[in-house]
Amino acid sequence: MLSLVYYLIVCKSLTYAQRTASVLERSGIGARILRTPRQVSENGCSYSVKIAQRSLPAALTALLRAGLTPTRVFITGSDGSYREAEL
């Protein structure tokens, strides 16, 4: 079960989100694809991968190893807002 505070890895396309989730799951990191909330999507529809707060360091390592560089990652606030995380 993911905690209430979580990270959103914003992906440019559904395929990238699927690839990202696939890499994370193969590394034993729980990942769920969801549509990017409007507050953080830049140019309209996109998909994101949701991971638990504690998983971010391992997730970034796994993604870099697979040649995937996340460009934008957001963390949820307790009020439901999103704040861009500095990578």
Binding site: K12, S13, T15, Y16, R19, L34, N43, G44, C45, S46
Partner: protein, 382 residues
């Protein structure tokens, strides 16, 4: 019925293909158009198709696998992306109309590397002469008319040496010959899903190298960057406007899984053995030119025949009436006929799949002999 027209489409498919298509139609919606379970299932099916293709064809990432309607669609994207006014393109003398008509519609100069049928050294010499200074090349892996396996690896090497972008038409090789996007260093590899990959009609793949800069052939909704009025820059979205053929992709995945399970090299050996057996069986038939290579390694499971004194169309028709499904005529490849010297007549083509048996080839040979004899007798007014 004996189906010997698999170079056009494989009619006999693995049961898993039919099942996958049915399940997708019943349970999958549209990928990238929602977050609900049926959309997620559709997304998963399409992604699995990309991943399976990436594994089979050695593509670095699933996003570089673009789903198309067929090989022609992929070839159009590839060729139109590379052709700028005034550019020069080199093609083999065995190309299909999917390549030659597309090039004829564009303001480019086309040079043809010919080389006689089943003479790969001649073809390589022609390519070596023509490639310097060219902008791009298009080459089929296997001739759809003669089953001639072109020396693609060597042609790709020549292209790399001359910094010429390469488009490969793998319509007749995908599923039975090794095709590696990475090893070839090709910019694009196009293939249908409904031939040697055993997927449904209306499916195809375009493999794009990381250095490729494809231009969209169609524009429209992609489920991404919806606020912009330009197509996304990234693959596969850039080339996939509109709703996907999800049942087709699911069936194609099942077809590729069948190929991976069976082994492309096993399928090739099986088809080549049937083709060789048929060619040997027919070689002594008077008035029948059998277009078979003396080196079996140069020919896939496709055999063309030229009946003398009988129209190939009439022979194809006679065979069809007796339950032998073959194709006659030009097979949409007049250039290949011009190169091989069969432009006057066309040919009767018999092509095999993993599902054909030796007994079917023997039966086809027997019916063919009888039909030829009968056709000539009738033609002579006897």
């Amino acid at each position: 019925m004996i189906f010997l027209d698999s170079a056009a489409t494989t009619l006999q498919k693995p049961a898993s293909v039919r099942q996958a298509v049915r399940l997708a139609m019943e349970h999958a919606a549209s990928p990238g158009r929602g977050g609900y379970p049926a959309a997620a299932r559709a997304a998963e099916l399409v992604f699995r198709c990309r991943e399976t293709a990436a594994r089979l064809f050695d593509v670095p990432g699933p996003e570089q696998v673009v789903l198309t309607f067929n090989a022609t669609h992929g070839l159009n994207i590839a060729i139109r992306s590379l052709a700028v006014p005034g550019s020069r393109c080199v093609i083999s003398g065995y190309e299909h109309n999917a390549v030659t008509r597309t090039l004829a519609a564009l303001p480019v100069r086309v040079d043809v590397a010919r080389g006689q049928l089943f003479q790969p050294d001649e073809l390589l010499e022609d390519f070596a002469q023509l490639l310097p200074g060219a902008d791009f090349a298009v080459c089929t892996h296997v001739s759809n008319v003669f089953g001639y396996i072109l020396p693609l690896k060597e042609i790709a090497e020549l292209c790399r040496r001359n910094s010429v972008a390469l488009v490969v038409d793998a319509s007749q090789s995908a599923g039975c010959l090794p095709v590696s996007l990475t090893e070839l260093g090709a910019d694009y590899v196009a293939m249908p899903g409904h031939k040697g990959l055993y997927g449904p009609q209306g499916t195809g793949l375009l493999l794009c190298s990381p250095q490729a800069k494809p231009a969209p052939l169609l524009t429209g909704g992609t489920g991404s960057e919806s606020l912009l009025q330009t197509m996304p820059q990234f693959l596969p979205d850039r080339l996939e406007a509109g709703t996907h053929n999800v049942p087709g992709a699911a069936g194609l995945t099942a077809g590729m899984e069948f190929v991976l399970r069976t082994g492309p090299e096993h399928i090739l050996r099986h088809e080549q053995a049937l083709c060789r057996g048929l060619a040997e069986d027919l070689r002594g038939v008077p008035g029948l030119r059998v277009m078979a290579s003396s080196d079996p390694a140069l020919q896939s499971g496709v055999l063309s025949l030229v009946p003398e004194g009988m129209d190939p169309e009439a022979l194809g028709e006679a065979l069809g009436q007796q339950g032998i499904c073959v194709r006659s005529g030009y097979h949409c490849a007049p250039l290949a006929h011009a190169t091989a010297g069969t432009l006057e007549t066309g040919t009767v083509r018999l092509s095999f799949s993993a599902f054909n048996r030796a007994s079917e080839a023997a039966r086809a040979a027997s019916v063919l002999r009888r039909s030829l004899k009968k056709g000539r007798t009738e033609g002579n007014g006897e």
